[in-house]
């Protein structure tokens, strides 16, 4: 257990660069996303994670480190988090990481977090490109940290972190002792825009780059080869089928009710 005091509270917030959700995405020859062909942005939920880290820092002091794994353009996403106010960045970059699935990614991230003395590790609860929501849990497991996922609020008091965990029926209040890992949902806050000052200051902040050797991970544990899952085949989404048009001859209401009940909506 770790008592957090304002001088030492250390938060690592993990962010991912993803293709702009509105952009048309294409796959490369190896069935991985062609990242060069689309505008890349910070995964939206990760903005909430950064915001929450900054709010905790504003309340308790300490340090916010932003961590991202990805190809060279990922620096833009790290800079964005730094311009919002994070103190420093860690960029995990290595050609060998290309094509890593969730299991392999969680290994690289866990290794990059390990040894940094983080009191809290914060993630967005899913990425808009993969949408699996498993990486936070996997990283927690690898690091042996309690995981408080799908949080709609986070507070830290002494050596305890307390969150509201969103469920189907409302939320559960969960508590763990620090260090711990938290993933957040978008209900948690409203991410700030970087201020002009923040943008200019971001340039001077330190970003450390780490490769596989630096992480102590061997090439066969990650990347396409080291992944447990592989994309065999991909097909474009079929074009939208034409809808059914009901002419209202007086029985329109019944027709709608029948349709909804056939689809089990009512």
């Amino acid at each position: 257990m770790r008592e957090v005091d304002s001088e030492t509270m250390k938060i690592v917030v993990c962010v991912k660069q993803v293709p702009d959700s509105w952009a048309e995405k294409t796959l490369g020859a190896d069935n991985t996303l062609d990242r060069g062909s689309v505008d890349a942005v910070m995964n939206e939920l990760d903005e909430y994670a950064v915001e929450e880290a900054l709010r905790l820092q504003e309340a308790h002091g300490g340090e916010v480190i932003v961590l991202s794994m990805g190809p060279s353009q990922t620096t833009d996403t790290i800079r964005k988090a730094l311009s919002m106010g994070a103190d420093s960045g860690v960029h995990v970059i290595d050609d060998g990481l290309h094509g890593s699935d969730a299991v392999a990614t969680s290994l690289a991230l866990a290794k990059a977090i390990e040894g940094r003395g983080a009191d809290l590790v914060i993630f967005g609860s899913e990425s808009t490109d993969a949408r699996m929501s498993v990486v936070p849990a996997m990283v927690a497991e690898r690091l042996g940290l309690p995981q408080l996922t799908f949080s709609s609020s986070v507070s830290v008091e002494g050596s305890t972190v307390r969150t509201n965990r969103v469920t189907e029926y409302g939320y559960d209040v969960v508590e763990a002792s620090l260090p711990a890992l938290v993933s957040v949902v978008e209900k948690i806050n409203e991410p700030r825009y970087p201020s002009f000052k923040g943008i200019m200051a971001a340039k001077k902040k330190k970003v450390e780059t780490v490769d596989l050797a630096g992480l102590g991970v061997s090439a066969d544990q990650v990347g396409l080869a080291g992944s447990w899952s592989a994309v065999e085949e991909a097909a474009a989404r079929p074009p939208k089928a034409k809808g059914t048009i009901v002419t209202d001859d007086g029985a329109g209401g019944t027709a709608i009710a029948d349709f909804l009940s056939a689809q089990k909506f009512i």
């Binding site: 964005k80 311009s83 825009y193 970087p194 002009f196 000052k197 923040g198 971001a202 340039k203």
Partner: protein, 412 residues
Amino acid sequence: MFEWSDEQVMIRDAVRDFINKEIRPRVEEFEHGDTPPYDVLRKLFATFGMDAMARERFKRQIEFERAVEEAKAKGEPVPEKPTREGGSDPSLTMLPIIELCRVSPGMVTAMGVSMGLTAAAINSRGTIAQKERWVPDLLTLDKVGAWAITEPDSGSDAFGSMKSTARRDGDEYLLNGSKTFITNGPYADTIVFICKLDEGNPPAERKILSFVLDSGMPGLEQSPPLRKMGMHSSPTGQLFLNDVRVGRDRLVGETEDVPSGGREGAKDTFSMERSGVAAMALGIIEECLELSVGYAKDRVQFGQPIGNFQLIQEKLARMEVARLNVENLVFRSIEVAQAGKGLTFAEASAMKLYSARAATEVAMEAVQLFGGNGYMAEYRVEQLARDAKVLQIYAGTDELQIVAIAKDLLRR
């Protein structure tokens, strides 16, 4: 400088993001409703910390001016002006102007007159006490400012036919006159009123004085907004002054002894206004070009996208040439300022003349390219074309810019 730096692109994108979320969806309300632009502009400044930066910069400026005054009073050498740090990069004002103008040039007009013209008029010629009294609130738009020189019978010939007067009355002045086409006039909290000191001498010899007025002063009337062709999100009105009584504390500079009869002070303000117009033009041109390229690809006539027709291609090519030229002018003005120099009056005039014409031409050609849709309010180019036109009229008409450029050339 030939392109925006990484930081400038980040600033541009962040501002664009804000505008797309906060202003674009409400543009109808700002253009055709009764919502004044000030609240959303204040939110923009607060969001990006522009208000805090302006306040800090002002504080540093005043500290320096105080030090200079103290040194002078003690007969000591005047301290050197501290070199400016990143905070005063002119691109930090240019980028929001450009981005806002893609959506609402009217907002920039309202903002520029308040934070630019009005604040600058007091900040360049006022006493330290006057600066502290009025400038900080204007820089953050906490107070809305108006700068009033134009009168019903006095426009291009601003000083020559000016009828507004100040007459001494004991230690005070009585101000009279009417002003028109005054941006922010209907809502202004702080008004810089420019008039002639009437000492019974012939009008041509009278000194030009500026006074700072607060709304609500007895004898001061601010009209409701006038209806106009464009710039609907910038309220424009008339001011009527009937024996408005003011003390010397409201006379800018607190002295009647103004260099070159007060005509130079207003000229500085004109110069600044003119380089701002180039940034406005760039925003309008960028938006029109982007919309036009999209439309040229999508709109099909005679079985093919209209972009295949050479007459349409010519329009797009000319728009791109205008964009490049105006962007270069904006880059130049940024670099000149970063080098600690200013544009000459003639140079600022040339820049304004070219940019204003380019913006109007591009926006009108965009309307043409969009055909009937271009004439419909639903398509953005309709508003931008109406808005662009005024760039050729306010801040000195095209004709007056030409006069200024030619005068400078022929004097050499």
